[in-house]
Every structure is written in structure tokens, then in C-alpha cells.
Symmetry: C2
Subunit: 388 residues, 2 copies
């Protein structure tokens, strides 16, 4: 059975040219970039080329501002813990929002165990932070603000540039988790004005297990991994060279094809929104109508359980997500959905559909047809649902 993948945010197959570059590296460029001989030189050269490609993707003016990591999660941990520890003498207060990814939330929870304090600002019904709330939350002990670029559950994008103006004025380090934005939509670190920006290769059809952290020159941050002087002394450890080479190729492809990809997924998303009421009733679409990722649609369907729908769709060869895969304890409702005001039960009935470039309108039709069947079946056994 050919699987219709409508869960691109969980995993993307690496592009054919990414695969080719990685295979070539495994076969012919397996050296250690730190070695002082020819095998090492070749590896170091490939590492440099990948760094330039990735820098170009986010318009970083200096390739050495890119630190390759093993995941978006590592980048986020590095940014948050690295700044908190480096700036411990200056203060112990961090500002964030209520709808951040678990990598942010749990890094902050860890820091709280080390006597840091955290203020988390609310979001509106569309999941947007109000920059004024950030300004108000900042104290003379604040050392870091961390606000995500786009949300991985509802797709809402934040007013990063406006927040950066505030942090710049108050001379506070600003990190944004852009794991679900970089490579999907234009991200320009200079225009955004951020000091730190986390991203991941698989988001834009690079390999999984490879990430990046943009560290603006002069930003005070400790490494998370101490040891050798790799990554301009910001991240020790022998590099995942094949993976990094793959990320570089994926970055080049994202630069080249971004406009076309955006228009393709946006068209599918619009079609899905338009067709939805013909198949399902009693649902909400989550996230901001304008400031949202073009490839993601979050929908809360009443009187059903999202996890059950995921399994029923899977039976028919369609992959979607509840986006709670990363969260501990499946019975918890999403903190993001509760934060935008969804009821607990509606949050449980939420599905996230994320498109990739290989999806077609036929995929949407098949998805809605199977979804309708699944929802009807589940509602028949739901004690809350009464047919009119």
C-alpha cells in the first residue's frame, strides 16, 4: 500500500539529491575534519561548504555563526541552557510564552531546578504573543527571552521582529525556536534581529538527527558539549559529516525551490479548508488565519478522540499526527490548545495535517473521505455526541 503522508512535520524523506550526497560521503568522504592530513582536509572542506549553504538559507552574514547540532532539540537546549549558565552572574530570569515546544518548556523546567525563574506570557485565541506582554515581563534580572518563530501544533507565527526590537533596546539575549519555519518559509536572521535561532534539517527534506543553531557573533553562550574545538569552539564532538553534508544540499534546494513549495502546500491547505465542511461538521480550525505556516492545518473535531482517528487513518494508509507524539503521557491534553482556549475534550479531538511537496489534491480527497467514515464511526460510540 502506498502511504499518503500528511504528517510531514514528524518526518520527511530526504530528497534524492540529499541521499546521493550522503551516500557519496559515506563511501568517499568519511574523514575527521580535525585531522591534519589529506583525508581530514577533504572532510573539513565539505563541512565548510555545508556551513555556507546553511548560512545562506537563513541569511547569516558569517558562516561561522552556524553551529551544527544533532537536532532542533539540541539547538534549543544549547541556546537556553548555554545562555542561562553563561549569564548566571548577571541574572536568573527568563521570559517565554505558554505555547513553546517541549524542548523549550523542559529546558526551562530544568533551569528552575537550578534556581532560575521563568515568566511565561499568555497568547491570544489564535496563539499570538503580544509583544507588550514581553516588555512588561522583563525585569532587571532578565537574561534571556525565548519565543518560538512558528508553533508546531497550530502553525501560528509570532511577531519576532517586534519582540527583537524590545530585547535589543533592553540588551537582553533573544532566542527563537524556528525548527518548523526554517526551510519552509523565508527566515532571515538579520531582518528578524534575533541573537539565537534554532532549526532542524529534516524540516526541509534533509536527514533527521541533524540540526543547527545560529549564534550571532558576540553572543555570550556556553557550549552544551565540552571537549574538542569543533564548531568554532561552540560544540565539541566529531561531526556527523554525512548528515551535515545532506543538510547543506537540502538547504540549497530549499533556497532554490521555496517559492514553488510554499505555493504548492498553501494551495493544498486552502483546498482542504474549503472542502472540510462538505465532509465533517462541528469542528474548529486552530491557529491564526493570516500569520500561520503554509504547510500546516490543525483541526479540532468535536466528539472524537484524535489518537483513534490517527490509528483508523493509518489502517487506510494515511499518516497524520496529533502532534502529541513528543509529549509524555498520552492522556495529557496539549498545552498549546488549552492555551488558546480549547476545551479539554476538543483538544483531545485534534489532528495536525502537514503537507509536503509530493502531496496532491487527490490525497486531500482520499483523506477527507476516510476521515468522514472514521469520525462517523467514533461519534456513533461517543456518549457526548447526539445526532440531530
Amino acid at each position: 500500500m502506498t502511504i499518503i503522508n500528511l504528517d510531514h512535520l514528524s518526518a520527511n524523506q530526504p530528497l534524492p539529491e540529499v541521499q546521493d550526497a550522503m551516500i557519496e560521503a559515506l563511501k568517499n568522504n568519511y574523514g575527521n575534519p580535525s585531522s591534519q592530513h589529506t583525508i581530514g582536509d577533504k572532510a573539513a572542506e565539505a563541512l565548510g561548504i555545508a556551513r555556507e549553504s546553511v548560512a545562506r538559507l537563513i541569511n547569516s552574514p558569517l558562516p561561522k555563526e552556524i553551529v551544527f547540532t544533532s537536532s532542533g532539540t539540541e539547538s534549543i537546549n544549547h541556546a537556553i541552557k548555554g545562555v542561562a549558565l553563561a549569564k548566571a552572574e548577571k541574572g536568573n530570569h527568563i521570559v517565554t510564552s505558554n505555547i513553546e515546544h517541549n524542548a523549550v518548556l523542559r529546558s526551562l523546567r530544568r533551569l528552575k531546578m537550578m534556581d532560575y525563574r521563568v515568566t511565561s506570557v499568555p497568547v491570544d485565541e489564535y496563539g499570538r504573543v503580544n509583544p507588550d506582554d514581553i516588555a512588561k515581563a522583563i525585569t532587571d534580572k532578565t537574561i534571556l527571552v525565548s519565543i518560538m518563530h512558528s508553533n508546531n501544533e497550530i502553525g501560528t507565527m509570532q511577531p519576532i521582529e517586534e519582540i527583537a526590537k524590545i530585547t535589543k533596546e533592553k540588551k537582553i539575549v533573544f532566542h527563537t525556536d524556528a525548527v518548523d519555519s526554517v526551510g519552509v518559509i523565508p527566515v532571515d536572521v538579520q531582518k528578524l534581529g534575533v541573537d539565537l535561532l534554532s532549526f532542524a534539517s529534516n524540516t526541509f527534506y534533509g536527514p533527521s538527527g541533524v540540526g543547527g543553531l545560529y549564534v550571532k557573533r558576540g553572543t555570550s553562550i556556553w557550549p552544551l558539549l565540552d571537549g574538542g574545538v569543533q564548531e568554532n569552539n561552540k560544540r565539541a564532538g566529531t561531526e556527523n559529516l554525512a548528515g551535515i553534508i545532506g543538510m547543506g544540499v537540502a538547504a540549497e534546494s530549499a533556497i532554490l525551490n521555496m517559492e514553488e513549495r510554499i505555493s504548492h502546500v498553501k494551495n493544498l491547505r486552502d483546498k482542504l479548508i474549503k472542502m472540510f465542511p462538505d465532509f465533517i461538521d462541528e469542528y474548529f480550525i486552530n491557529g491564526h488565519p493570516e500569520y500561520c505556516l503554509p504547510n500546516l492545518l490543525s483541526v479540532s473535531i468535536k466528539y472524537i478522540e484524535g489518537e483513534s482517528v490517527v490509528l483508523m487513518l493509518d489502517e487506510e494508509g494515511i499518516a497524520v499526527s496529533t502532534r502529541s507524539a513528543c509529549a509524555a503521557g498520552a492522556l495529557q491534553a496539549s498545552h498549546v490548545l488549552l492555551s488558546i482556549g480549547r476545551e479539554f475534550a476538543d483538544a483531545q479531538g485534534t489532528m495536525v495535517i502537514t503537507f509536503g511537496f509530493e502531496n496532491t489534491e487527490v490525497d486531500i480527497y482520499k483523506f477527507l473521505t476516510v476521515l468522514k467514515e472514521a469520525v462517523n464511526t467514533l461519534r456513533e460510540i461517543s456518549p457526548l455526541y447526539s445526532k440531530t
Copy 2:
């Protein structure tokens, strides 16, 4: 020019079967093991199989005791910082040795900036720690002992079992950096009696940028990466699945071929030691004559500069290392060589030769022939060398 690789400790080409497994994963198993659909299930299954293979390699009784990481360096940082932070309420003192890898040294230096205290025990002229010194260094504030299994510069192996008896009696967590041992020589975590053991995939012909940390069940340790619940809640972040699959295949091959590989490299090492005086005079062999890695030979040649020899050998297509590639500032002498009593100048004239299964006796002959030429050239211009 075909390169003769005598620097296997810096990088190994992944085995053909490792390459094949990784290519297959890139093409057909690119899912996210946390996803709840078929694509995710397939990924999760492969992850489980790799974990079992790696557990078998180090005789861990429970595959869930294996935490996949992005490098030996990450494993070491995780072990040391993770235990120090988790046990901060119990104490702030750590015991180590003078000849540990930079990942250990610098993790400890980082902890010193956070008010931890470190006692570093000396080694003898062969680089061996005396377990009595460990026992004496332990105080009622000691929370961790970290002693390497084998040294990456001189190959000396430590009396880990004896040290483990001491730490077990005093109920102190014991970590060993076994990055250069696992997959090369038999390593059995149960026999060793350690709580934590770091290792890396590339040491045994797996991909680089993949590592592992053995965490004995019940060991108190914080994650280094917080976020999702991957790796049994010990290491968040989407997995480098292709890399981990490659590491699993490499582990199976290491189990199967270890005896043969040891006998092959040991034979080459013995031959090299025997032939050396026919080509070069005035040198020392570093490390323990009995307790040493079978694939590594460290030699300090008087009146020359190791880095120059590395470059001259490279010109002739032979890769060797000074093993200072990981250290900051090339003008520093190796702390390992100084610790075993080498003079500064002799430390500078040190080369590390590490063998792999593809090396032959012809490689040794070519190496020694070119080395003799290089050493003669360098000594001619050395102000310290006087021909007799």
C-alpha cells in the same frame, strides 16, 4: 594516490554492510520513531533492533540501558554533567585522572565554574592509575569517579574492575570513557562493574556522529537534552535513525569479527615495534607494554616535530596523527605525555599510529621507509640533533 590510513582512531570508513543499511534507511525507513502510524512503527522497530545489537556488544543486560547520542563526546558530557547536576544535593566532588580525554577534562572544568571540586590522580610512567589513589581521593562529598577505559594517545588500559570495586563499596557513581575500547576489544559492562560507560560508533566502523552511553538501571542522572521522551526519557530529540541503524550493524560485525580483528592489528603492531629500530634511532614507545590497546602505537621520536612528520607523510599518501587534533592550540604539549614523564620536546615529537583491518605488512614497510626519510630531513635542520 591510494592513501595508507594509519590513523584509524581519527576516522574509519563505515563498513560496506553499514553503508548498505544506512542507504536503505535513507531510502525506505525515514520515519519518526515517536509517530503513531505505520511509517513511525517501522522506524521504532529498527531503532529497537539497533539498541539490542549495541547492548549485546557491551553485554548490557537490558537494551534500555543504552542511550544513543551524537558522539562519544556527548556521551561523556552527559555522564559527567548529568550525574554532577543530579547529585548536587549529595556532594560536589569528583575524582578523575590526569590523562583523560578533553571531553572529560573540559566537562570537569565547566563544572568547576559551577562550584564543583575535582581531584585528579596521577598515573605511572606507563599511564596507569593506581586504584589506591582513587580510594584515597574519595571524600564524603564525592559523587562521581570518571576514569577512562583506554587512553586515546598512548593506548594504556586502566584497572577499571578494581576501581569499580572501590566505588561500589563507597556507593559512588563510576563512569568510564571507553570510546577507544568498545568494538575494538571485549568490553563487558557487567564484568567491569561500572555505572556509566561512553562509546562511539566510528571506533568500530560505524558512522561518525553517533555514540552511545550505557546507563546502569537505577543510576541517578539528568538528561543533557530535555524535551521529548525519546531514549527512555534520557535524551530528547528526533533520532539520527540512519546513523543509529548503521551503528547497530557495525556492532553486530564487531561481535562477530572481534577476535580476528584483534589478532590482525596486534600482529601489525608487534611487527612495527620489531622493525622500528632498523629504521629510526633515539625514540621511546609510550604506554603500557601489556595493558594496552592492540591497534595503537605511540612513539616519541627525538629531535623532530610530530606535526611536521604528519605533513611530510601526508605528502607521500600516508595518514598518521599526533592525536592533538582535538586540543586547542597546537603549541601545547599533550597533557598525557607530560603526565607519563615525557619532556616537552619529546612530547612534541610524538606520533600515534592506529591500525585497521585493511592495513598490511606492506603498509608498515612503506610507512617506515618514508618516516626514516622525513626524520632524517627534519633532524638535519634541528639545532638539538648532533650526528654521531
